[in-house]
């Protein structure tokens, strides 16, 4: 993203939305520089969502690239009924769920490294050192267990947890992205968390 342009999220205000609309219009006419801007704007969030769903860097890389390519090819069919961001998310989510259905039971973990900040995150440090019965379990071990537990969830449940609890996407937006109503999103989130808590019981004490 160039330094002259405002670095903001699509939810934050009108100027960005207008700018996004301009970029989408230009990209639809075949302007690849405009589309490059759009890719740079959303690449981290799209990659992260797919990565948290697959727990595999290589798969996330391929799927994220393919999602952006498919979005570009389908740009002419984008009516603007929702934001480009939501529409792009929907493409990535569908692509990931289809991929996971084909990959069923053949997955392997290829986890990304933890950011340096993780070691200094007070919540996580407290969780590992105080709340965990297995005091020797380091963050890396916890990361592995967490990803294994996530992979035990069904795809729709995992997607809701990833989008809401990891990515911070609102219930409304998740409903739009996944093509279901808010009640379904809340219900999936509840059961997914419950299941996840069961899988990770030995790492957590009740609050």
């Amino acid at each position: 993203m160039s330094m002259s342009e405002p670095v903001t999220t699509p939810e934050s205000g009108t100027p960005v939305a207008t700018l996004e609309g301009d970029l989408v219009r230009k990209a639809r006419r075949g302007d690849l520089n405009a589309y490059d801007e759009l890719v740079k704007r959303y690449q981290e969030r799209i990659y992260a969502t797919i990565y948290h769903m697959t727990s595999n860097h290589e798969d996330a890389n391929d799927l994220a690239q393919e999602s952006f390519i498919k979005a570009y090819q389908a740009l002419k069919s984008f009516k603007g009924g929702s934001s480009f961001y939501t529409w792009l998310y929907r493409i990535a989510v569908n692509k990931t769920i289809n991929f996971l259905k084909q990959r069923k039971n053949k997955y392997h973990l290829s986890l990304n490294d933890l950011d340096f900040n993780a070691e200094h995150d007070p919540d996580l440090v407290a969780l590992v050192s105080d709340k965990t019965p297995l005091r020797d379990a380091g963050l890396a071990e916890l990361q592995k267990k967490l990803n294994e537990a996530l992979l035990k969830l069904s795809e729709p449940h995992r997607m809701v947890v990833v989008l809401h609890d990891v990515q911070g996407v609102s219930h409304d937006e998740i409903a739009e992205i996944m093509g279901c109503n808010i009640g379904t999103v809340r219900s999936r989130l509840f059961y997914a968390r419950q299941e996840l808590q069961g899988h990770l019981a030995e790492y957590m004490k009740p609050a």
């Binding site: 690239q65 990304n112 996580l124 969780l127 957590m204």
Partner: protein
């Protein structure tokens, strides 16, 4: 729902760990370039380069060439062996030519009474007509001499005919 939100507090804190998982350093610096180049490649309408076509049609050849990239010493060895093969091919082809000539010479100098030898044709008395076509009355020679055209006559199958005109006898 608030109660359940409260119950899931630890889980949500644990899930924050996911946010700290990051791809390899510098990964996003080249990500958009990869996407755009793949889009451009797709727009080129499947106009693959010769190398890409080779990857699809003859992957074994690509693997073979890749060996040379990793071990340059093998290129020299491969070139020397090719030259050696070429020289050997030339030498052997010359030898086989001389051997053929020897065999032909042996056949031509073989004795005439050999049953398998070619029957020498009698001197041809040829006549050249006005149109320049060579006509000959000599029989066509064959490799195996045949006594008669229909083989040996069988005396049991026919009897000699005799003719006596009326009034000449008795």
């Amino acid at each position: 729902m608030n109660q359940s939100e409260h119950n899931f507090g630890n889980l949500k804190r644990l899930l924050k760990l996911k946010r700290q998982e990051v791809p390899p350093p510098g990964y996003f610096n080249t990500f958009s370039d990869s996407v755009i180049s793949r889009i451009r490649a797709g727009e080129a309408g499947g106009a693959q380069s010769a190398t890409e076509r080779l990857h699809v049609t003859a992957p074994w050849l690509v693997n073979f060439l890749n060996i040379f990239e990793t071990k340059p010493g093998l290129v020299g060895g491969f070139a020397v062996s090719l030259c050696l093969l070429l020289v050997l091919g030339v030498v052997f082809s010359e030898r086989s030519d001389s051997a053929t000539k020897n065999i032909l010479a042996t056949v031509q100098s073989a004795p005439a009474n050999d049953s398998l030898a070619l029957v020498a044709a009698p001197p041809m008395a040829s006549v050249t007509d006005s149109s320049g076509i060579i006509a000959s009355t000599n029989p066509v020679t064959s490799l195996q001499p045949v006594a008669t055209m229909f083989g040996q006559p069988n005396p049991a199958l026919f009897q000699a005919a005799s003719f006596a005109p009326a009034g000449t006898g008795n």
